[in-house]
Amino acid sequence: MVSTDLLISLVPFFPLLGFIIIGLTVNKIPKTLASYIACGAVLFSFIVSVILFVQLSGADENQRSLTVSLFNWISVGEFTASISFLVDPLSSLMLLVITGVGFLIHVYSIGYMHDDPAVNRFFSYLNLFVFFMLLLVMGSNYLLMFVGWEGVGLCSYLLIGFWFKNKDYTDAANKAFIMNRIGDLGLIIGVVLIFITYGSIEYASVFSQVGEGSATLTLITILLFVGAMGKSAQIPLYTWLPDAMAGPTPVSALIHAATMVTAGIYMIARNNLLYTLSPIALNLVLVVGLFTALLAAVIALTQNDIKKVLAYSTVSQLGLMFVALGVGAYSSGIFHMATHAFFKALLFLGAGSVIHGLHGEQDIRKMGGLKKYLPTTFVTFLIGVLAISGIPPFAGFFSKDEILAKAFEANPIVWALALTTSLLTAFYMFRLLFLTFYGKTRASDHAIAHIHESPKSITIPLTLLAILSVVGGFMGVPEALFGSNKLEHFLNPVFENSLALMNHTHLAHSTEYMLMGLVVGLTLVVIFAAYRSYVKNGAVPTFDVDSTSSVHKLSYNKFYVDELYDSIIVKPLFALSNLLEKIIEKSGIDRVVNGIGATVDGGSRLARLLQNGNIGFYIFAMVIGIILILAASGFTK
C-alpha cells in the first residue's frame, strides 16, 4: 500500500515530469510519443485524484483533510513558506475537475492539433499548465497558491501566443499577462498583509487566528479579490479573456473556461471564513459579480465569432459564481464551477470541432445547417447549450437554480438581475446554436465540399463531456427535488465555520418550486423567441449583418471598453514614459549633472587664465595678497 503522502505528491508530479520530458526533448521525439506522454501524465494524476477522493469521502467529516510537507521553500526569520500540499474536500473536487476535464482536453488536442508542426511544444505547455493549476489548488499556504496563480498565468500567456508569428495573437498574450499581473499585485500585497497580521501564511494557522472582522481584514479580502478580478476576468479586469481566444481552441476550453479562470472562485471559497467576517468585501464580490454577469451577457448577444460568444459567456458565468460567493453560498459557487467546467469545456470543444470541420471559419453568420454534416458535434453541442441554459435535468439547471434560490434568499433584486443574466444566456446560446447548426447553410460550396465530422480523438471527449453535462448536476440535487445535495455535505467541513456565522433562513419548498417553475418557464419563452428570430426567418436577421440601432451597436462594440482603456490607461502610460525620458531625464537631471561638470570645467578654465606667465602680474597679486592678510589680521584684533 502506497502512503497517502506519496499519493498526494504524485498528483502534481506527473504533469511536471511530462513537461520536463517533452520540454527537454522538444522535437527530437515523435509527435505521437509526446502526445501520449502528455495525456498519460494527466491520466495518472486523474487516477490518483480519484483514489484520494475516495479516501476522503470515506473519512469522517473532521478528518477530511490531508497534508504533506515536502521542503522549506523560503524561510527568513519568522517568515516561512513551505512546499506543502493540502487535500481537503474543496481541493479534492478541484483536482477531479482539473485532471478529469484536463485529460479529456489533452486527448482532444491529439486530433485538433494533429497538423501543427509545433505540437510537442503545445503539449509541454499544457502539462506545465496542469502542474501549476494543481499547485494553485493544492498549496497549503498562500504563497504556494500564488506560485500556481502566476504559473498558470505564464502558461496562459504562452498558449494564447502559441502561434507566435501573428502579432494580434502575441498582443493578446501580452494583454492577458499584464492584466493578470495587475490583479496579482493586489493578491501578493494581500498575502503580505496576511503574514504581517497573522504571522503566518499557512491556511490552517491563519484561519484559526482570524477571530473577528477588522479593517485590516476587509483590506486583505478586497486585495485578494483584486487578484480574483484579474484571473477570473471580472470588471474591470475582464477584457483580456475575449482576446485570449487567439489561442488554440483546446486552450480556450481548458484554461480560459474550465479551470484557470475559476481560480478566483476557488481562492474566495478557500478563504470563505475571511470573507464571511468582512461583509464589505463580500458585498463587493457580489456587486462586481452581478454587473460582470450582466454586462458580459449583453455583449454576448451580438457577437458573431463562435469563440467570442463563448468567451463572454464564460465571463458572465464566472460573474454568476461570484454572485453565489457574494451571498455567502460558497458551495453553490463551487457547484456551478464544476458543472460549468463540464458544459463550457464541451461547448468550446464543440466549437473547435466546427472550426476544424470548416477549416478555420469562426463567423457564425457564415455557418448554418451544419447539423447534418457534423452529427456528433451537433448532438453534444445541443446538450451543452441545454445545460448552460438551465433546462432540467441537465447539469446547469441544478447549479444555476441553487444560485438563484440563494440569491432570492439574500435579496430579490439580486435574484432578478441574476435571473435576467440567466435568460440572456439562454437567448444568446440558442442564437449561437441556431445560427451554427440550423437552417440552410451559408458556408461556401468549397467549405461544404470539404466539411467532415471530426476524428474519434475529438468526438470521444465530446461524448464524455456531454454525458457529464447531463448527469453532472445530480451531485447536488436539492432537497426540494427529493435529493440530498451530496456535494454540499461533502464540502461541509470547508465551509462549516462560515456557515455557523451566518444566520440561515431556508426557503420553503413551495417557494422553491415556484421560483424553479418561473425560471424554467421564462427560459422556454426566451428560447422560443430565439427560435423565431433565428430559425423561422430562415436567414441571419439584418441587425446581425449590419447593426443600426445604437443599443445593438453598443453591445456589438463591447461598450467600447477596450477603446476606453486604451485612451485612459495605455496611451497616457506611454505619454508619461516619453515625457519622463525627454523632459525629466534628458533635459532635466542629465543637464544638471552635465551642468555641474561644465561649471567645474569652466571654473578651471578661468583659473588657468591666472597662470599667464607674467612675473609682474604674479608680484602684483602677491602684494595684494599680503595687504589683504595684514588687513584681515588687523580686523580680527
Partner: protein, 488 residues
C-alpha cells in the same frame, strides 16, 4: 592562506598573463578564473556561518596611520565573492578573441581582485583602496573597447563615480579622527566612532557615504551616467558593471553605512527609501519607451536596484535578506540578459528591437533560454527573481503600506517592458536582419544554459543561500538595534 589566495590570485594571474602569447591570453585568463572559482568553492565548503572568523586575516599595513590589511568573510561577503568568482569565468569565456589582447583579460582579472577585495575588506582604508582600484580597470575596458562616443561617455562615468567616492573618503577620514585612542581604520572601531557622534554629524556622514554608494548602484537621481555607459561599454564591461560592480554600492550600504551611522539612517532612511521607490517607477516608465534593448535592460536594472536599496533601508531582517538574495539573482539575470543582447548583436549588428523579430522560429533554444531569464527578471515564482522581490516588497509593505504598494507596481511595469521587448525581438515574423539568424553555438550554450539553470535552482531552492547570510544579517541588525535602543 585561502583567504589571501582568493584576493591576490587574480592579480598574479593578470601579471602571469603577459608571459603568454596574445592568442593564448583568453585561455589562460579563463583557466585562472576557474582556479579562483575552485578556491572560492573550497572556502564556501569550509565556511561555517555560525563561526565566520575562521577566514579572517589581519596584518598591520601602514602602522603609523592605523591602517591594517584586515579582511574577513561572513555570509554576506561570501555570497558576493561567490557571485564574482562564478560570473567572471563566464565573462571571460563569453567573448570572442578578436582585437582583445593581454591587456583586456588582465584588466578583467585585476577588476576581479578589486571586487573580491571590496567584499572582504574589514578596514576602512583598505576598503577605499579596493573600491577605487576597481574603477581603473573598468575605465580602461570601457574606454579602449567601447562603442560609439566612448571617450565622452566613459569620462563622465569615471568623473561622476570618482566624485561620489571622494565624499566617502572625506567621511572615512573624519570618522578616523573620531576613533578612540590610537586612531585606526578598523571596521569595528569605525562603527564605534560613528555611533558616538551626534545626530547632525551622523547625518552629514550618512550623506557622504550614501552619495558614494548611490552613484555606484545607481539610485535615482544619480543614475544618468549609467544608461550611456552600459550601452557604450563592450558587453564584458557592461556585465562587470551591472552584474557585480554595482553590488559594491549595495554591499556598502549594508556593511558600512547601516552599522556606522544608525542615527543618520534612522533619520534619513525614509528619504532614501522614497528616492529609491521614485527611481523604481521612474526607470520602469522610461524602460517602456526604449527602442534599444541594451538601454532597456540598463533602465530595468535601475528599477531593480532601487527596490533592493529601498529594502535595505527598512532595517528589517526580511528586507536585508531579500536584498542579499536579490543581489545574487540580479547579478545572474542581468548577466544573462546582456549576453542575450550580445548574441543578437553578434548576428544582426543591431540592438534596435523593431529591426528584429521572428527569432523564435530560427533559434527556438535561444528563445526558450531568453524566456527563462526574462521570467527571472520579471520575478515569476520559482525563478530567482521572485524570492528577493517578494521579500523586499514584504519588508516595504511592512514598513509602510503605500510605499510597498508603489514599489510593487514595478512588477506590472516590468512585465510591460520585458514582454514588449520579447515580442518585438523574438516573436512575430522575421525581418531582413533576422532571416539568417543562427541557433546558439556551443560556446553560447555553455554560457547561457548554466545561467538559466541557476535562475531556476535559486528560485526553487533558495534555502541554502538564505541560510548562509542569515547569521551575518542578524549580527549587523543587532549592532544597529542595540545601538538605537541604547540611544533612546
Amino acid at each position: 592562506m585561502l583567504t589571501l589566495f582568493i584576493i591576490f590570485w587574480p592579480f598574479f594571474a593578470a601579471l602571469l598573463l603577459f608571459l603568454f602569447r596574445p592568442q593564448n591570453a583568453k585561455g589562460f585568463a579563463f583557466l585562472a578564473s576557474l582556479l579562483e572559482l575552485a578556491a572560492s568553492f573550497a572556502v564556501a565548503y569550509l565556511f561555517d556561518p555560525s563561526n565566520s572568523s575562521s577566514f579572517d586575516v589581519n596584518v598591520p599595513w601602514i602602522d603609523k596611520l592605523g591602517v591594517s590589511f584586515s579582511v574577513g568573510l561572513d555570509g554576506i561577503s561570501l555570497l558576493l565573492v561567490l557571485l564574482t568568482t562564478v560570473l567572471v569565468p563566464f565573462i571571460i569565456y563569453a567573448g570572442t578573441n578578436e582585437n582583445k589582447s593581454h591587456t583586456f583579460y588582465g584588466l578583467i582579472l585585476l577588476m576581479q581582485m578589486a571586487l573580491v577585495g571590496v567584499f572582504m575588506a574589514r578596514d576602512g582604508f583598505l576598503f577605499y583602496t579596493f573600491w577605487e582600484l576597481a574603477l581603473i580597470p573598468i575605465y580602461f575596458i570601457c574606454l579602449l573597447w567601447g562603442g560609439e562616443n566612448r571617450a565622452k561617455v566613459t569620462f563622465k562615468f569615471f568623473v561622476y563615480t570618482l566624485a561620489g567616492s571622494l565624499f566617502m573618503l572625506v567621511g572615512l577620514i573624519y570618522l578616523y579622527y573620531q576613533t578612540e585612542g590610537t586612531h585606526s581604520f578598523d571596521i569595528q572601531k569605525l562603527y564605534k566612532a560613528g555611533q558616538s557622534l551626534s545626530l547632525v554629524e551622523q547625518s552629514y556622514l550618512f550623506w557622504a557615504f550614501f552619495l558614494a554608494f548611490a552613484i555606484k548602484m545607481p539610485v535615482f537621481p544619480f543614475h544618468t551616467w549609467q544608461p550611456d555607459t552600459y550601452t557604450t561599454a563592450p558587453f564584458q564591461g557592461t556585465m562587470l558593471l551591472s552584474a557585480i560592480m554595482l553590488k559594491m554600492g549595495i554591499y556598502g550600504l549594508i556593511r558600512w553605512l547601516l552599522p556606522m551611522v544608525p542615527l543618520g539612517v534612522a533619520e534619513w532612511g525614509y528619504t532614501a527609501i522614497v528616492l529609491s521607490v521614485i527611481g523604481i517607477l521612474y526607470a520602469s516608465f522610461i524602460a517602456i519607451v526604449q527602442k534599444d534593448m541594451k538601454r532597456l535592460i540598463a533602465y530595468s536594472s535601475i528599477a531593480h536596484v532601487g527596490l533592493i536599496s529601498a529594502g535595505v533601508f527598512t532595517l528589517s531582517k526580511i528586507g536585508i535578506q531579500g536584498a542579499v538574495i536579490q543581489m545574487i539573482s540580479h547579478g545572474v539575470v542581468v548577466f544573462g540578459l546582456f549576453y542575450i543582447v550580445e548574441v543578437i548583436h553578434s548576428r544582426t549588428k543591431t540592438n534596435v528591437m523593431s529591426d528584429l523579430g521572428g527569432i523564435r522560429s530560427k533559434a527556438p533554444a535561444f528563445a526558450s533560454v531568453f524566456l527563462i531569464i526574462l521570467l527571472g527578471s520579471i520575478a515569476l515564482p520559482f525563478t530567482s527573481g521572485f524570492v528577493g522581490e517578494f521579500l523586499l516588497i514584504n519588508s516595504l509593505v511592512n514598513y509602510k503600506l503605500v510605499i510597498g504598494a508603489l514599489a510593487a507596481v514595478s512588477t506590472i511595469l516590468g512585465a510591460v517592458y520585458m514582454l514588449r521587448a520579447f515580442q518585438q525581438s523574438i516573436l512575430g515574423e522575421e525581418s531582413s536582419k533576422t532571416s539568417t539568424f543562427a541557433e546558439l553555438t556551443t560556446q553560447e550554450k555553455i554560457v547561457l544554459y548554466p545561467i538559466a539553470i541557476i535562475v531556476l535552482v535559486i528560485g526553487i531552492y533558495p534555502a541554502p543561500l538564505l541560510a548562509l547570510s542569515e547569521p551575518a544579517v542578524d549580527q549587523l541588525l543587532m549592532i544597529v538595534s542595540d545601538y538605537l535602543a541604547s540611544v533612546k
